[in-house]
Amino acid sequence: MRKTKLHDVAVLGVGMHPFGMFPDSSNADMGRIAGLAAMKDAGVSFRDVDAAYVAQIFAPVMTGVRVMKEFGLTGLPVQRLDNASATGSAAFFEACHAVSSGRYDLVMVLGFDKMTSMIQETSMNTDPAYLEDSILPAGFFAMWATRRMHERGTKPEHLAKIAAKNWNNGALNPMSQRRPDKTISPEKILSSKMIAWPLTAMMSCPIGDGAACAIVGRADMAKKLRPDRPVVRVLASDLQSERYERGHLFMGPVVGPARMTVDTSSAVYEGAGLGPKDLDLVQVHDAFVIEELEYYELLGLCGRGEAEACIERGDFERGGRVPVSTDGGLVARGHPGGPTGLAQIWETTLQLRGEAGPRQLERARTGLCHMMGGGSVCAISVLQRD
């Protein structure tokens, strides 16, 4: 039987290289900056690291272990993972369970990617690798929005309000790719370029580069290493793939079945011994804002069919009932690939410690991080401050 509950696992340190366009920075440069920052934050040296999980999608064979050499050559095991958008979250999931099982005391989870170079390479092809490749990812998510509008009367204005929230949250985050210098209105979101109706460019995440790192270890080490600050535990973590149901889409597996988020979050809530009502902040896979709207309901932050009313009330804004995408989300903070899920861990850890600067929420004890990977996996972790 698979267990989601973790025993005495904590986030000891976090670090990031900003997300954005960095044509002159290599994966090694960005990874080194994020990794050194995380080790400094944890108060550890690379000699203390028992193992490394590298989260990276778009780079040649062995890039993971090569980038790790930036920190030194200490003989530690290095494994590279890929699970599309959920790559960083999947590596974090593995690291947490490795520590929980007693296999390691202290693990580095390092994510980096240069999505800009991936886009350049694939655009050279003329024939699709898969039949559905002619369809832009935005198109798949747009169909989720069209169906929602048909069933629930959702308006583009609801989507625009989520996007404006995330852009404005991104303005407060020094690591965010999109940092608008003035408040973004829902009207501005609606008037941006239409990509796939009803989704506009400003409702969609940008492509970019970046890196993020988390140091995961035993909770008692957290107290010893940094007695000056609260321990941030990882209570439970899970990763699930799809379950077959009639109507399952085998082609264009970008969105994924809605129930994957329900199943994975239920397992994590059970393992963590809490429920959605206990959450103070939530990060989700908002590559396109229709996703964030659906995940409000699928994660149980509100009831089925209630998302639109919650959006109108501002329930998920800073200062609302449960702030979501507090660092800007994928839409503003950005989504380079491998490091994206670790940026969520960075944000949640800082918020729970009370170190989130201008983004700091008044009440932040328990946070949830949710990512989807290629519509085929869902990874969720729940973090809590002691």
Binding site: T126, D127, P128, Y130, L131, E132, D133, S134, I135, L136, A138, G139, F140, A142, M143, W144, A145, T146, R147, H150, K193, M194, I195, A196, W197, P198, L199, Y244, R246, G247, H248, L249, F250, M251, G252
Partner: protein, 147 residues
């Protein structure tokens, strides 16, 4: 049908038929499970519902019902045709059960959830005397009453 003398090749083999007669709609190439009867698209060796390995190829469609849709404001990947700078995309429920995602013929305002559709082939470019074709669906009204 001025171009019916041209040979046609699918952009990707194994997903749909290319009938000799251009007036005949294509079928999607899927799988039927001999044990539980579930259908799948595209083809697969093991049944995703009951895990049986007793599966056989089954042509699906050409009719379907629109479950959801969008209109993408970017050029269709791999196409050299000006009319493909924007294109519809639909999720279509086939009568046998599978749901598929493929491009749609027509403009956004011509689509509505629940409408009947039929499959057709559309050339995206020419290679010598051969047309490279994709499979897409179109509203049956525009098909002149075909199915």
């Amino acid at each position: 049908m001025a171009e019916q003398t041209k040979k046609r090749r699918p952009v990707k083999a194994g997903y749909f038929t290319v009938p000799e007669n251009p007036a005949e709609p294509p079928r999607l190439l899927g799988t039927r499970c001999e044990d539980c009867g579930e259908h799948f698209f595209p083809k697969r060796a093991v049944c995703a519902k009951c895990l049986s390995e007793r599966t056989t190829e089954a042509p699906l469609g050409p009719g379907g019902t629109l479950y959801s849709y969008t209109f993408v404001h970017f050029p269709l990947f791999g196409s050299m045709k000006m009319e493909h700078v924007g294109y519809g995309v639909g999720q279509i429920d086939l009568p046998e059960g599978p749901r598929v995602q493929v491009p749609l013929a027509g403009k956004q305002e011509e689509f509505s959830v629940g409408m009947p559709l039929v499959a057709e082939l559309e050339a995206i470019r020419e290679e010598g005397d051969t047309e490279v074709v994709i499979l897409r669906f179109k509203p049956t009204a525009a098909a002149g009453g075909a199915r």
